[in-house]
């Protein structure tokens, strides 16, 4: 056991010292406290080196104390819960946490691949692009495998994620993003006015910088003030506080995406509890109070463990009670960093020097430094950090060029602050450069968004509180609540001056701009020399800002350096904008419950339970699960089963569930007129009690769907669509009704789910149905001929509809009952049918019989064929306008050379045909130029004893009897086929009229 928490400072911090937590890092056990992050717990134990860098495998430590961390990426947990690339600075410590360093080989402190640093000319900016120009074979066999090994992040779990992820929606008047002084004040002021408020914060504790900086508000400590406000908000029924929640994106109309880390702070979520929850938050008004991110200064070896942002140093001391070192050098260009001195001293550390790039420091800062006996370097800079796996000194270069090295193990650096404007740019807003702040501030905002506090460039606590009070009241007022601006509490004074400074020219060592992607100052200079000067080119050429941190600590520095190199102003060089997500989002939470079988709903037919009992094999067709075939014991394979089903239907009787068809009631005095305009054939002339096959086109003249229309009264039709197009056809018909012809008296009612509908087909179909329908309905051929329809009762008083339609070519009916009677009807059909040898048949036999009859289905109605292509051109009425009529006459669509539907049979009847095979002249090469069409549908016909096919073939009618090759390049097959009529069985159609 290592010595425990030697860097923990007694009396400081907000961690709960009564709750000790055990954890491991690279297998070594340590302890921390509740309220720690993994980063603070590692620092408390003196661990500085936590990872290796992406390209050069340089030793890296902890730079920040927040979600902007570029370096301290670790793997958490193990097995199926292993999670790579988590920032140690936001990972909340829990009992038993397992963490591993990443991208090291074979171990963190001895990394063989750090030799990449010696090969750095190879890895410089544009390396990938330049390497692509070398022989391609080199890239694939040599370079890529090496780079994949050498450059990388953590590794993902291989097993399926065992945890649950949830999705939820929330609505509010005012959304406040961030719970620092500005956010809390805004929430308080909006909530007191009566608005419904949601406050989100990415941390597990609310208070923002008030938890990390020593401030006094209304005579209380900042922490006490924050706790009091949080308590008041928590007590309000109108307020929802959401800690551990990150807003990752802003979307239109005040919609936000957020991830709540419900159980990331425990080893395993409680039973039934999700690991994370995806929120859609809809807010009438939003206040962005996300604070700011401190900028590093680019100097030599500025990536060494022990170089830390000054604000992070204060976080570790004040929030976590951890001294991140023993002897510090503070290096900055602004007033704020000097506050760090007090905290370092309070933590018992030595401050070896205050180095400021400004020629003259404010007297207050200078006297403070003197009071503590700290050496002050004005107009100076830390040119290089000294040390390998941890900082051992700082090489300070003065304005007049002399250099000296001061021993230290911590360099607290600050280059000023970048307001966190990311969310304000998600909807296209451009951030604007503000010279006096040396920072980008939010530009134009949606009218429902305001920005408060440091996110808006108001850096002092007092201006945060003023901003918060004002924006909170304004937001409440915008939502209709009379609001007076709340009294702003008083605070102590702060100095917030900054003087722009980006990087130290005198650096001798590699100086990093983007630490996560290993982009150096030299890479920026190279990009400039090679002409990649615009900010977009700079990014892509160097990969600056393209890592998972989206350049939170690097973009502005890179941009400013390019501006200096090109002698342009920063705004003329570019601006920073961000895209969602603000921080990485796991795919698991985006998927939520929609994984595996829950990816989409499964629709079950009314006969499903019965079919399952019968041992049906099911097939997914769209969302539907349909019975494909019903195997009997002793049958060798599906083909034997399907052959039996087809033969039984054609010789006796079979029943098939066709409830999945789309069904629409069309009512109104203009129903007939309306249907005339949407079908190519006439429907207004259909007699009551009759049904007719119909086809619909798209407006561009291409076939859309087919089905039947049945007329039950002058003003009442019932139409069916194909299963696949049920929703699309309804949408199209609603457009026609509401938009094209709003004056027609017609109403549409989708009733697909309301009716259970069965096809009863075969020579004995009438005998069977005679036992099902109620008297006095007369089902005889004379009283109820082919294409008749009727509203009847069945099974002793159940409302029913019967249609004499046939897809199989046999004597056939479709009978429908309300869906809740579907199970009853199928059971009665089978029991009453026993004496006729009735069987159920599935979609496979249905398909075989329609191909034997040459009927088209989805493979032919494929969005490229016209009615004429399908041999249905003559159906189109010339006496009326209908959707698609005009454009169906275009030369390209009436070209006689277009492939048309025709039948095919194999020359060798023992050979199997293949759907998708292409037709090539018998003696021609199988090339695209010689392609004459393709096979759309094939089936083994048990009636003919060989395979039959339907296909689309150029000039097909004139080629009857011709022999072609059907070439299937996927399976490497070529079969000789003969062109035959597109009907193979009972060509005259005698069987269906008996």
């Amino acid at each position: 056991m290592t010595q425990s928490q030697t860097f923990r400072v007694s009396g400081l911090g907000l961690v709960d010292r009564t709750k000790s937590l055990d954890f491991t890092f690279d297998g070594v056990p340590y302890t921390g406290y509740a309220g720690d992050t993994l980063a603070s717990a590692l620092l408390a134990n003196g661990i500085r080196l936590v990872g290796r860098s992406f390209k050069y495998h340089r030793p890296r430590g902890i730079l920040t104390a927040g979600s902007e961390e570029p370096n301290a990426l670790v793997e958490l947990r193990s097995g199926a819960r292993r999670e790579p690339n988590t920032r140690a600075t936001v990972a909340e410590l829990y009992e038993g946490l397992e963490a591993k360093s990443q991208n090291r080989f074979p171990s963190l402190s001895f990394d063989l691949l750090s030799v990449n640093g010696l090969l750095s000319p190879v890895f410089s900016a544009g390396f990938y692009y330049k390497t692509f120009m070398w022989p391609a074979a080199f890239w694939e066999k040599l370079y890529e495998p090496i780079i994949r090994r050498a450059a990388g992040l953590g590794s993902a779990a291989i097993e399926p994620d065992p945890d649950l992820y949830d999705k939820a929606n929330a609505f509010c008047d005012v959304l406040v993003i961030g719970s620092g002084p500005a956010g809390l004040m805004a929430a308080l002021s909006a909530a007191r006015a009566g608005a419904k408020v949601i406050v989100v914060d990415e941390s597990f504790a609310m208070g923002g910088r008030l938890l990390s900086d020593v401030r006094s508000i209304d005579g209380k400590s900042g922490v006490d003030w924050a706790n009091a406000v949080v308590a008041e908000l928590a007590a309000s029924p109108r307020v929802r506080l959401m800690p551990r929640t990150t807003i990752f994106g802003a979307y239109d109309s005040g919609t936000f995406g957020a991830v709540e880390r419900v159980a990331d702070h425990v080893a395993v979520p409680a039973a039934g509890e999700p690991r994370q929850r995806l929120w859609h938050i809809v807010a009438k008004h939003t206040i962005v109070a996300q604070g700011s991110t401190e900028r590093p200064i680019v100097f030599g070896n500025n990536d060494r463990p022990g170089v830390m942002l000054a604000s992070a140093v204060r976080s570790y001391i004040n929030r976590f009670g951890v001294a991140p070192g023993q002897t510090a050098v503070v290096f900055s260009n602004n007033d704020d960093a000097a506050n760090t001195i007090d905290d370092l001293i309070r933590a018992g550390m030595t401050v070896a020097a205050l180095v400021d790039t400004r020629p003259i420091l404010p007297p207050a800062i200078k006297s403070k430094a003197r009071k503590h006996g700290i050496r002050v370097f004005e107009g100076a800079a830390v040119a290089d950090a000294i040390g390998g796996q941890r900082v051992s000194g700082a090489r300070i270069v003065a304005a007049y060029g002399t250099a000296q090295t001061i021993s230290c193990d911590l360099i607290a650096a600050s280059g000023g602050f970048n307001p966190n404007v990311q969310v304000t740019t998600h909807l296209g807003g451009r951030s604007q450069w503000q010279e006096n702040l040396a920072a980008f501030v939010p530009g134009t905002l949606p009218k429902w968004m305001a920005v408060a506090g440091a996110a808006n460039g108001s850096f002092s606590t007092s201006s945060c509180l003023i901003d918060g009070a004002r924006t909170g009241a304004e937001a409440a007022a915008a939502c209709g609540f009379a609001a007076a601006v709340a009294t702003v509490p008083s605070t102590d004074d702060e100095l917030t001056e900054v003087s722009a400074f980006w990087h130290v020219e005198a650096a001798k060592h590699k100086a990093f701009v983007d630490q996560q992607n290993d982009v150096t100052a030299a890479d920026i200079r190279l990009a400039e020399r090679e002409g990649f000067r615009s900010v977009e080119h700079l990014k892509r050429y160097t990969t600056l800002g393209m890592a998972t941190d989206q350049g939170k600590t690097s973009n502005v520095n890179g941009l400013a350096m390019m501006a200096e190199l090109t002698n342009k102003s920063i705004p003329a060089t570019g601006a920073t904008s961000a895209r969602p997500p603000y921080t990485p989002v796991s795919l698991g939470v985006l998927a939520g419950e929609h994984r595996e079988k829950h990816f989409k709903p499964t629709r079950l037919t009314p006969s499903h339970d019965w079919a399952k009992e019968r041992g049906a094999v099911f097939v997914e067709t769209g969302m539907w699960l349909r019975a494909q075939y019903f195997p009997k014991s002793g049958e060798r394979d599906w083909l034997e089963t399907v052959n039996r089903e087809v033969k039984t239907v054609r010789s006796g009787v079979g029943v098939c569930d066709v409830s999945t068809l789309g069904k629409i009631e069309v009512h109104g005095t203009d129903a007939g007129k309306f249907l005339d305009r949407v079908y190519i054939n006439m429907m207004s002339t259909l007699g009551v009690g009759k049904a007719r096959y119909g086809m619909m086109l798209r407006e561009d003249g291409v076939a859309m769907d087919d089905g039947t229309a049945a007329r039950f009264a002058d003003d009442r039709y019932f139409i069916t669509t194909t299963t696949a197009n049920a929703i699309k056809v309804l949408q199209h018909l609603e457009l026609c009704r509401q938009w094209h012809w709003p004056d027609l008296d017609v109403q549409l009612f989708p009733v697909s789910d309301q009716w259970a509908q069965y096809s009863v087909a075969g020579p004995r179909a009438r005998d069977l149905l005679a036992k099902i329908v109620d008297a006095p309905f007369d089902i005889s051929n004379a009283a109820f001929p082919y294409m008749a329809c009727a509203e009847i009762t069945a099974l002793g008083g159940i409302k029913a509809r019967i249609y004499r339609l046939s897809f199989s070519g046999e004597l056939a009916y479709e009978i429908a009952v309300p869906a809740r009677y579907g199970d009853l009807l199928i059971r009665r059909l089978m029991s009453e049918g026993e004496e006729f040898g009735a069987i159920p048949y599935g979609t496979e036999a249905l398909g075989v019989m329609r191909i034997e009859k040459g009927h088209v289905a989805g493979a032919e109605l494929n969005g490229t064929t016209t009615a004429a292509d399908l041999g249905l051109g003559k159906m189109a009425s010339t006496k009326k306008d209908f959707v698609g009529r005009v454009l169906a006459q275009r030369p390209g669509l009436v070209d006689p050379d277009r492939p048309r539907l025709i039948g095919f049979k194999p020359i060798d009847t023992a050979v199997r045909l293949r759907g998708g095979a292409h037709f090539i002249g018998k003696d021609e090469e199988p090339t695209a130029q010689n392609d004459q069409g393709y096979m759309t549908s094939v089936a083994y016909s048990p009636m003919l004893g060989h395979w039959v096919g339907l296909g689309l073939l150029a000039r097909s009618e004139a080629r009857m009897g011709e022999i072609l090759k059907a070439v299937d390049p996927v399976r490497g097959e070529s079969t000789l086929v003969q062109v035959v009529p597109a009907a193979f069985y009972d060509v005259e159609g005698a069987r269906l009229r008996v």
Binding site: S253, T255, Q731, P742, V886, Q889
Partner: protein, 98 residues
């Protein structure tokens, strides 16, 4: 994006299906230039940067077609009306125009 359906209230855009430009009107099939007019109706669309009127269908709601006035630069929706009301107005104004 949120659309305020006149029948159902404000809903997320995932409840709706988008069709496109609502300024194109189905031409008269008996007109002498019907072939050209239908070609334009089916294929020709302006690519407006600014407020546009477009057809949306409340597919997961009331099945109403809506004319949504949306600024393509900001996605701001300034007006939502039932398409049938606008289509009737269009027809009425066409029949009263000499």
């Amino acid at each position: 994006m949120r659309i305020n359906c006149p029948f159902c209230g404000e809903r997320g855009n995932d409840e709706f299906s988008y069709l496109g430009d609502a300024s194109v009107v189905r031409p008269d099939a008996s007109a002498p230039d019907a072939a050209d007019a239908f070609y334009a109706f089916a294929y020709e669309r302006r690519n407006v940067a600014g407020p546009t009127q477009e057809l949306w269908y409340h597919s997961a709601g009331c099945h109403a077609w809506l004319v949504v006035t949306r600024d393509t630069r900001t996605h701001e929706i300034s007006d939502v009306k039932p398409a049938q009301d606008i289509a009737l107005e269009r027809q009425n104004s066409a029949s009263t125009t000499p």
